[in-house]
Each structure stands twice: as structure tokens, then as C-alpha cells.
Subunit: 419 residues, 2 copies
Amino acid sequence: MKKQVKRNVIVGQSGGPTAAINSSLAGVYRTAKDRGYKKVYGMLHGVQGLLEGRYTDLSEHIRTGLDAELLKRTPAAYLGSCRYKLPEIHEDKSVYEKIFKILDELEIDCFIYIGGNDSMDTIRKLSDYAIITGAPVRFVGCPKTIDNDLALTDHTPGYGSAAKYIGTSVKEIIRDGWSLETEKGQVMIVEIMGRNAGWLTGAAALAKGEDCDGPDAIYLPELPFDVPSFVDNVRSILKKKASVVIAVSEGVQTKDGKYVNELGGGHDYVDAFGHKQLTGTASYLCSVINKEIGCKTRAIELSTLQRAASHCASRVDILEAYEVGGAAMKAADEGDSGMMVVIKRLSDDPYQAGTEVKDVHKIANDERLVPREWITKDGTYVTNEFITYVRPLIQGDVAPIMVDGIPRHLYKPGFQELL
Amino acid sequence: MKKQVKRNVIVGQSGGPTAAINSSLAGVYRTAKDRGYKKVYGMLHGVQGLLEGRYTDLSEHIRTGLDAELLKRTPAAYLGSCRYKLPEIHEDKSVYEKIFKILDELEIDCFIYIGGNDSMDTIRKLSDYAIITGAPVRFVGCPKTIDNDLALTDHTPGYGSAAKYIGTSVKEIIRDGWSLETEKGQVMIVEIMGRNAGWLTGAAALAKGEDCDGPDAIYLPELPFDVPSFVDNVRSILKKKASVVIAVSEGVQTKDGKYVNELGGGHDYVDAFGHKQLTGTASYLCSVINKEIGCKTRAIELSTLQRAASHCASRVDILEAYEVGGAAMKAADEGDSGMMVVIKRLSDDPYQAGTEVKDVHKIANDERLVPREWITKDGTYVTNEFITYVRPLIQGDVAPIMVDGIPRHLYKPGFQELL
């Protein structure tokens, strides 16, 4: 690649928030500045905002080292996120023309998009369009998703912190359950995110250790969910102990493909990618247990808490997110386009990992699920291989910067109005 | 009081778990040992377990300084809790005879009970019975409740940690909301514990600071809840901003005394004290917003997480819980009976507080609610006085002792079977 004057960079965030996505933003910014780019723009609400001409100069936000540290500790997409699906290029060129006109006006060399499967679909389409039209912009994806379901990468930034929060919270719920054991027994069902992939739900097993037996059963969405077998399992666990805690994915489906939460009549909000908002699975299963077994039940949805809990972030995760953001910027700077940074694990314990760059065409819209052999034969728990995989990703803490007893986040005056 | 040989102590935990109740247990144990008592027994599952002859020698559990530190960081009642209501003495003496026979056999001088309103009712009855029968046991209550609704004390241990968790989590939820703002708007309703008292729900206002506007409205159970006014308020907030977060107590009632969660058909589990398990308030209100306004909604119940989140405990709270446990033991040792330790605040900022001892007859079954003047005139927020009151109680952190990326709790082999 011939030497040329570096112009500007634009970075955006897309998809569901995580506790680590802003650490990647900090990594992109730092590397762009270190590599001599003039301006680093941030799209507001991703490509959707960009299409409306909404962006900001990141140097107005990250002015000091303290700002960068606060950004790493700020949950959810600092720049705002979106769930906007680009049309196929042959379907509607006008959207692309609009985006590339803005990129041209802003003198953009590198376009970094931090997100999951849907965001990598955006990178794929934009880089394809650049190739077709010869536009001088490089497009690189930076992985992010608590769901950990991106193909080709060992894991995704955001997953480790969510897993740490889930393991910690489930352990606290189990302990709460012990203390209130009653003769009749009680069943707490913890509903965990993950539409199709059970990586988050499986992380409930992290509660297990020398001081805790862990949840009594774990149901991942990878296997069909059978309500009568579930009730039988709960009944048999209740014979052995009075307080039962079960982790269940929001996305479990019966063998005929019906979401369990729909059996009880759940919400029906559907996003731009056609994904249903799934909640109510635990609540429905509690009502079944109530009816069939008659004991006390409690449905606990970890809800948005599991993706936003910066106060319980994993150090490995936050640092990797920062590293991956830097690697994405580096790749784009060195001429890559239509690529995504992936994490390659070198060893489990002591944990060692590095980054690589892969063709985004091999990633987009391809979900990576928990392998069948990492789920026990009877389908009610994860195996030790699963734990060995996830354990390194939750190591270490990122102490929040506390002000008045509450974690401080990055915020510039007028910021919320900007969004 | 004449000098005599000190015999044994028994301590129990009762009512809903908190993140600080075990710190009080550690304080009782330490002070009992320091003051020369021979054995410190722990009732398993409070008075209910004691009646079945279930107790343990605490020295088998707290063997080292590390054990004591782990105990302070272990959520929920280490010894197991209960919701057992003693009959009035004139109704059924046999229960009392049974308890005092066990206390006599165990050579108990001091009986410390850590709990809330219902537990102080137990202390009252037992100390009355001891007076009537001349039994040589002193009964002292040690306050504990996340609800913060005990009379005569400035606040209760357990509240500060729950408030810190609520403020932190609501702030993270607000930030999550910003990042996903959509044109149509979205409303997140956070349901917080507190049957009759709004201390916990009001703590959502702690999210407010230089970097966050805080929740958009807060509804406490002290005031009647009007569904149409609520919808109007949400509609008017949505005109100004796209992402709305509202904190609502699980216990809000309409002006004719109906729980809001019952309007939508909630759970009907009722405990031994006749308290309903209240959940589903946020979920019901979301369905109303959905129907009336038509925007995206999400109901988030903080559920048991808010009372069990040791990983986010307040240092002031954990240390005060320890101090109050010690003060209860000291009071019993010095001859007090039928008393409860209370916390007296000396100043807000810098915060200073100490302990006193009050007659439990003035406390039992008397709920302390949020004063009307600490709620705004329109009833949709707390005032600065409320914040000034709660802010000191959430200061400082208690770093969890992390093992393999997850907080370690106190656990002795075979402990769960013991419970």
C-alpha cells in the first residue's frame, strides 16, 4: 500500500449494548490517534444515525486519560446503537450512495463498526459496495456481543463481563434460596438472555465452586425443551433439596419450534431484523411448576442488567475489548477491508490469546452455538469443557470509579440531547 | 448486675435476607467471644428451627479471621432464616415452654435475634415470657431489613447495600436505554421491593448525578397510585425524550387499596405473616403503556438480586451491620432484655452515627414510612432531603474476595446439608 496522507476515521456501534463495547471504542480512538489520523468521528446510533447525518467528533468526548478510563467503564453503546438492516446492494443503491456521499464529505479513510452478527452484515455490504464503486474507504468490523455467537472468533468482547455478572448473580440467588428454604420447597427460575445460543445461560454454571453447588439444572436453547420432562426433573430435585435454582435461556423452544414463553402468551415486540423480544419464559415455567407441583416459585429475569452491569465487569473482557478495537483500527490502517477482527485463544490456563483478521463474508449472519458435546447427555447442564472455556474470560475486575457511592460513567454536558 | 460466670449465647436470623445480615452475625460472634462467653450457638432457620432442636456451634464455622471476612461478604442469612410467627403468650404457652426448655438445656444467657419488624415481635414476646417466668435469659434484637421500615432507628443495616445496588443498577439501565433510543420511544419500568415503605424505590434516585439524569419518575407505595395519571405522565415524558425509565414499588396500590399487580393478575403466594409475594407490577404497567401509548416497553424486576447483591455492598452498611451486631451482644451482656439496638445519626456529611438501645415494645410491628415531605408534591419523585438521608449509607465498597473470577462466600463442608 503506497504511502499517503491519512485523513479521517469514523466509528459506530450497533446491536445490543454490552459492558465492554465502549472499551472497544476507546481502543479504536486511541489507535487512530496513535496512527496519525486527523479526526475520529463517531456515528450517533450507528449507520441509521449516519444516514441522517448524525455524528460527533470523538475528541470532544475523550479529552483526557480520565475520560478514556471512564469510557471503558461506561455500559451500553456510548455513541448510541441501532438495529438498522441495510438493503442488499441490488435492491436499493440509493442508501449506499447516501452513506458514501457522507463518508466522502467527511474525508473518511477507515470505517470501524463495533457489533455482532447483524453489524458484520453491514460491514460486508459496505465493503462490497466500496469494491464495486472503487470508493477509497476501508471497512473493518470489531466484534461485540454478550451472546458470544459470532463465527470464527474464540469468543466476543462483552461476553466475559456478562458471564461474570450471571455467575455472580446466580450464586447470590442460590445463597438467598438456601436461607429461605421451606419444608414444601421453593423453585427459583432464572431467565437468561440468548435467543439461539446458550453461552450466557451456560455461564450460570460459574456459580458452582468449592462454596456453592451451582444451579440445579441449566437449559440451553440449543436443545429442544420438553415441558413435562422439565417438571419431572424439578420434582426429582425437590426430593433431594428444599431450594431449587434453575437457569433457563429466554430462547428455549419446544421440539416443534415454539418459544416456551409463547406458550404462556409473551410479548410480541419484533425488531428490524425480525427478532422477537423474548421475556416471560421463567414466568411461564413458574406457573407450570406452581400448578403441577404446588410449591413456592419465583421467576427472576436478569433482563438488561446482565448486559449493562459495568460495575461487575471482567478485566480480561474489558482489556480484550480495548485490544480488539485497536486491532480493528490497525487492520483498516494497514489496508484491510471487509474484514473482522477475531480473538484466537492460545491456551486456557494460564490464559493466553491474540487477535487475527478474518474475512467478514465468512462471518456475517452465521451463528456459533454451544457444541452438543459441551452440554450433558440429558441436556440439563453444561460440561466441564464449557467451564474451562468460559472461566478465563471472567477473570479480574475493573474497579468502577466511584463518586458519591455510585459508579461514574463518561458524560459530557449536553450529551444526552446529542443522542 | 452481680458478677456471675458467663455461660452461652444463641443467635438467630429471621425474615428476608440482606447483603449485610451476616456481618451482624460476625459482630455478635466476635463480641460474645471478646466478652468471655463459652459457646455461641446459631439457630438454624431462626426460632422455627430452634423449636425443632436445630442449631450449630458457630465456632465450627468462624474459625479464622478469613472466615469472618468471608462471612461479612456472604449474602442472605448464613444460618438460614424463617418467617415464623410466635403465638401470643396467652394463646399457646406450650411453644414458649419448648423454646425455654431448649435454652435452659443449652445454658443460654443471651438470645440475639437479627431481623426486621416480625423478628422484633419475636423478641418482644420471648422477653415478656422471660419476665413472667423469671427465666434468666436476656433477649436483644439486632435490626436488619432492606426495607428500612423499622421504627425508632435512623435506618436499618441491609438498606444501604440494597440502595447502592438499586442506584447502580438503575443508572446502568438508564444508560442502556439511551443507547437504544428509537424514534417511537421506549419505556422501561423497574420494579423495586418494599411492600409498604418506599425507601428502596426512592433509592433509584441515587442514579441521578452529574453524569445521569436519574429515573424519569419514581412511584412510592406511600401514596395511592393512579393508573391513568401514570399513563399521562409517561406520555408527557415521552414527548421530551425517547428513552424513559421509571422506578415503581412492587407495593403500589390504587386509592381503593388494591395492589396494582393484582389488576393484571399477579402471584398469590402468602407467607406466614399474611404478606403477599408481590411481583408483576412493572409487567402489568408495561402492558397498560403498550396498549395506551403503543411504544416498546420492558419490565425489569430487581427481584431477589437487590437483597442478595453482596458483590455491590456498601462499606458503611457492612461495617454498621457488624457494629450493630456487636452492640446487641454488648447490651445483652450488660443485662438488657426486650430491647433492640438502633442507629442514631449525628450528622449527614461527613456522616457520623452511633448506636443506642430502645425498648422493643415501641418498635415491633410498627412500620416507618417515607415522610410525605420527602416525596415531591405531585408524588412522582423523592426530594433532595431523601437523597441527603440515603447518600451517606451507600458510601464505600467491600471488595469481594474473588476466587476464579467469582466472589467467594463462607461455606463449610456439609453446610448445605446442615441447613
